[in-house]
Symmetry: C2
Subunit: 665 residues, 2 copies
């Protein structure tokens, strides 16, 4: 029978379905919810989406899968697929198409990871002044003598008891008002947004309300569930940004939108579905809090209802902000990089499709410019460089690098195209900071032997049997470690090139590409059944990343007219894992006393939480966004020259001595 659809089954997940013939296997995986990694946005330049076509008649699955059903072999596939792999049925998922029924095996390396390291909140001293506040009132039951409407009665009570005037009420609240007031015997607890709108009325005395601060990164989404009465963080939830399957970085997302008519809609819907899954996760858990008398009472268990989440703050870079709100992100990708809006917005949760209390407002932090968004405003809210005399340099390294420099007098921000190398993308065996990622590397300069540690396992390789390591790849901090260690061990030269003289079985040239590589982990130590290596290309990516951050800092310092900075703070996921000292000595940023360099974790998320819990800080956020001067680095005439100068490993001689001292300390 001839039809226009074919059955595709993905293993090991077992997800299956009929898809239109002619679409790529990566596209089929998206439609069936399997999520093959395609960091390059199907540009056929990353080779991450390598999958295997299984041959045979699979009765149980009801299909006959043949290699030819995946379309003809394409020029370019051999760049990523060896002749040996080709023999076994490997194809690139973005090139191979569905031409007939297929059984597709997705190797672990190509699976979009679901598990991410959570971004723990830092203890912050936030003055509690949330946008949504609770007011307890007694409402007079109606009578023939006083037949005023329920809204008028409630508002009169709020005015008499709490001095609130000119309140409006959300329609959803109005719809259940009668029932709620009767249920509580005309005693009610009213949640009012910005002293303006009634968004929730609860019947009992013992009521709770919650807020959620959501930091939407290009790669990772972190959400902090907070008690709006105490200000405490109840839970931290995180997930991969579901848009990762459309491309690893901001630029590939924008491209996906421009190349697909429904691209924006799909990315936005996927993200919103993801946020809703976070809300569901929060509402399915059982939490506990101290009893009324902190000491003697046992902890009380409680759950959170979606309707009790009455406030949400969201911080994200400009592209994430635009995609979430379904604002055309295309202008962000072309000069003059104009965003649709700079100001913070208050949007009804129901209008966004966020399944918290539908009457809640979602506050989106304002954005600074096309490449510096609400996440950076969050960083400034949390670190407060604008309130201090000391000149601070804050480097937020996520999928994009964002820089802030200055003090109370002047603040400059910029975005530097680090590329996602520091998050493990563009690196042959790069991966995110997830279980199985090599995060620490030490290389013995004498023997050139490698010791390493993976996320999720405390014991280093030298204290483990090879089987136990199950390494899957290298994350950003591991790559920086590796490059530094290769450099110290003399395997990599100042220029970043592999030493020509090294003789070690770990150092080799790959036949297919002629490229030099160094083996960090042998196949038996891995969970992916192949050697994990770091290639010459990988080192080049890291060099470029660190050089662009360094150059950005230098150009900003020149603009601000300062020779040195008083403090350096490294924020973001990379910052949490990286050794600040290593970053300093590798020349990732200008010189600074080592005790003035610190990691500040997810400062963007912290700032988002601050905005959630203190409404004054929302006004401050808008002031900050207006006040910060955005600097477009690439428009500086000597940008390229500066970048080239910064590309060498430690690019100043004195750095190298510094390095020896520090590492021997």
């Amino acid at each position: 029978m001839k039809t226009n659809k074919a059955l595709v089954v993905f293993q090991p997940s077992g997800r299956r379905g009929r898809v239109p013939k002619g679409i790529s296997i990566v596209e089929a995986s998206r439609r069936l919810g399997v999520d093959i990694e395609a960091p390059c946005g199907e540009k056929q330049v990353c080779g991450k989406c390598k999958i295997r076509i299984e041959q045979g008649i699979f009765q149980k699955l009801g299909l006959e899968s043949r290699w030819k059903n995946a379309g003809p072999w394409q020029a370019g596939e051999e760049t990523y697929i060896s002749s040996d792999e080709k023999e076994k049925g490997y194809r690139m998922g973005c090139v191979a198409t569905v031409e007939g029924d297929l059984l597709v095996f997705v190797p672990e390396a190509a699976r979009a990871g679901k598990q991410v390291v959570s971004k723990a909140p830092r203890p912050l001293d936030i003055t509690l002044n949330p946008a949504v506040k609770q007011y307890s009132v007694h409402v007079e039951p109606p009578s023939l003598e006083d037949p005023a409407g329920l809204v008028e009665r409630l508002c009169a009570a709020l005015e008499d008891t709490h001095g609130l005037t000119s309140l409006s009420m959300d329609l959803d609240v109005l719809r259940t008002l009668q029932e709620t007031l009767e249920k509580g015997d005309w005693q009610a607890v009213v949640s009012v947004w910005m002293d303006r709108e009634i968004i929730l009325v609860q019947p009992a005395e013992n009521t709770t309300i919650f807020g959620m601060a959501i930091d939407i990164g290009t790669t990772t989404v972190a959400a902090y569930l907070c008690d709006l009465i105490s200000g405490n963080v109840i839970d931290t939830l995180s997930m991969m940004n579901p848009q990762v399957k459309y491309g690893e970085d901001v630029v590939s997302r924008i491209s996906f939108h421009m190349e697909n008519r429904d691209g924006l809609q799909r990315m936005s819907t996927d993200l919103m579905d993801g946020l809703n899954s976070l809300v569901r996760r929060a509402c399915s858990k059982e939490y506990s809090r101290p009893g009324p008398d902190n000491r003697s009472e046992p902890e009380q268990a409680f759950r959170v209802q979606p309707c009790e989440i009455v406030d949400v703050s969201i911080a994200g870079n400009t592209a994430m902000h635009h995609i979430l709100l379904q604002l055309d992100p295309a202008p962000l990708g072309v000069i003059p990089f104009t965003p649709a809006v700079h100001h913070s917005l208050d949007i009804k949760a129901r209008d966004l499709g966020l399944k918290v209390n539908p009457a809640a407002h979602v506050f989106t932090l304002p954005i600074e410019a096309g490449f510096v968004g609400g996440d950076n405003v969050g960083v400034i809210l949390a670190e407060e460089p604008h309130c201090q005399d000391a000149v601070q340099l804050i480097i937020d390294i996520g999928t994009n690098g964002e820089l802030v420099l200055g003090n109370r007098e002047r603040l400059i921000s910029s975005s530097c195209a680090t590329g996602p190398a520091l998050e493990g993308a563009q690196i042959e065996f790069g991966m995110r900071a997830a279980p199985g990622a090599i995060e620490r590397v030490v290389i013995d300069p004498e023997t050139v032997d490698v010791d390493y540690k993976v996320i999720g396992r405390d014991a280093w390789k030298s204290y483990s049997s090879p089987d136990d390591m199950q390494a899957k790849g290298i994350c950003g901090s591991g790559i920086l470690d590796a490059v530094t260690q290769l450099f110290i061990a003399g395997i990599v030269e100042k220029s970043g090139a592999f030493s020509k003289t090294l003789a070690s079985e770990r150092f080799r040239i790959r036949q297919e590409t002629g490229m030099k590589e160094f083996v960090l982990a042998w196949a038996p130590e891995t969970g992916i059944d192949k050697d994990i290596v770091i290639t010459q290309q990988d080192i080049r990516h890291i060099q470029l990343a660190k050089a662009s951050i360094y150059t950005g800092c230098k150009l900003m310092m020149r603009k601000l007219g300062v020779e040195h900075v008083d403090r350096v703070k490294i924020a973001g996921a990379f910052g949490s894992h990286v050794d600040c000292k290593l970053a300093l000595v590798m020349g990732m940023f200008p010189d600074c006393a080592i005790d003035k360099v610190s990691s500040v974790g997810n400062a963007a998320g912290d700032g988002c939480r601050i905005a959630l819990l203190n409404r004054e800080k929302r006004l401050e956020a808008d002031r900050i966004a207006r006040h910060v001067e955005y600097m477009e680095l690439t428009l500086e005439s000597d940008f390229q020259m500066q970048l080239m100068e910064a590309i060498h490993l430690p690019h100043m001689r004195d750095r190298f001595d510094h390095l020896q001292d520090i590492l021997q300390a």
Copy 2:
């Protein structure tokens, strides 16, 4: 095969479908969208829902229909179904149930009419000051030197050119802003709601915006489509309130809600679907307006897009208001008749599901009390008794009767339970003021012969052949005419009873019920194949209706402390058809100089239009709603006594002389 569903086919519409066994045929008709009349709300007291079960095997329809498939004959059906009719398969649709496959014929009398007389707008002198105003601006295209967001650029232009500040923007507008600005080459026309929120941005100079004023009556819905630039009424659209199938009056609707878990949802959805069909109708028409130069240019054709309808005002009685907004109407039916809210509301069209511009606000007129709603506020806005010295009495007779009495010093409103008799319900052959309804009656006192006129046909019966009349029933004004004429002709006595002495073939006693009736139209003159009669019961209903209006007026005058009124205005659909003189002499309201009695048409709709076109009047509406004193007539100790006194036909002797004078004039 035994299943829990049965096939039901309705003729002549041909609508069919499978419905659960055991539900009533009226319920089945609702589910299949056939809409059998059930004015009493299936209380089995009106007999309107009489249908016929067809017997036989209907191959083409795929069913075998038997009388027994409609369940056993029930006690009470014989009240409305003669033994002859029973023989032919007639049943009451609210009693007969679906027990097997059925072919159901719905006689014309039982079909909920779709055709209603439109409520033409009166020419009003309204100061144009709408809530939504247009502003034309040039927006500076973004540049690297000035990279401000699009919203910020637009707002800056609006501030510079028009002095507007602190504007917000609807998310939907934001989503298309880039595209719109580029399309118009950075020249834009911006629609701003209440100088607060940007709800539409259009690219060209030559742009139009519209508003819709909607008067939601219990029976009829009228919508005025207005040009917001000129203030002109472009079109008047009307329809039956789709909720009529759930019950004819407010009380049956409230009952339907209380007896059905999803009753409120269903009534609200049906109404909103109906409003959306009005919007679609308006947007499917081609309108025309004068060319740029009024005289020489030909008229320009134009169409209205849903997104160009940027403002909506809605007036309705309290129950309609609550049902529309899905607010629990149950409390309106019990002491102390408390509404959920009195104030006017501004609700986003998208939140209501109204398919105009989703960013538009729907303004609902404030309500006065549980039984006097925004329609009455509209009447006051239009007639302005609160701005005058003269004491006005305004009687708005729709399905409910609403009364306003007073002047600038004091205003009282009340609601009187006229019952729907004056709209033709509860009357054996009553129907709405729709084509085929007898609207005028003259009876020759000598011969007792009847002449009449039907809506939709200019020639009276005496100038037509019987075949041409096709009378279907009697509408409110026809009933009042008939009763008056019967009284003048001596056929009906002062007490309302039929004269015992009359000998005429038109006067007879119905065998089944023993009730006296008078034939207005013989079967051959009708479109329903039976004599149209007026019964003793019908006369009682009319007496009760006019007595309750009269009593209401009297009690209100006593409260206000006035002996007589300076003006009487009759509003509403009944008011448009009725002869004001007849109403006066029949004692429907207290005495007043006949030249001071006038009909003012759909004043509620006019007031709604005023609120649409003048935002100051919205504030005035809220002031009026607070200012008017609602009087609950039934709580007056002598209400019943007064009502009994008013029940006689012209209850004062001098009235009768009056009558003779007037009718002979």
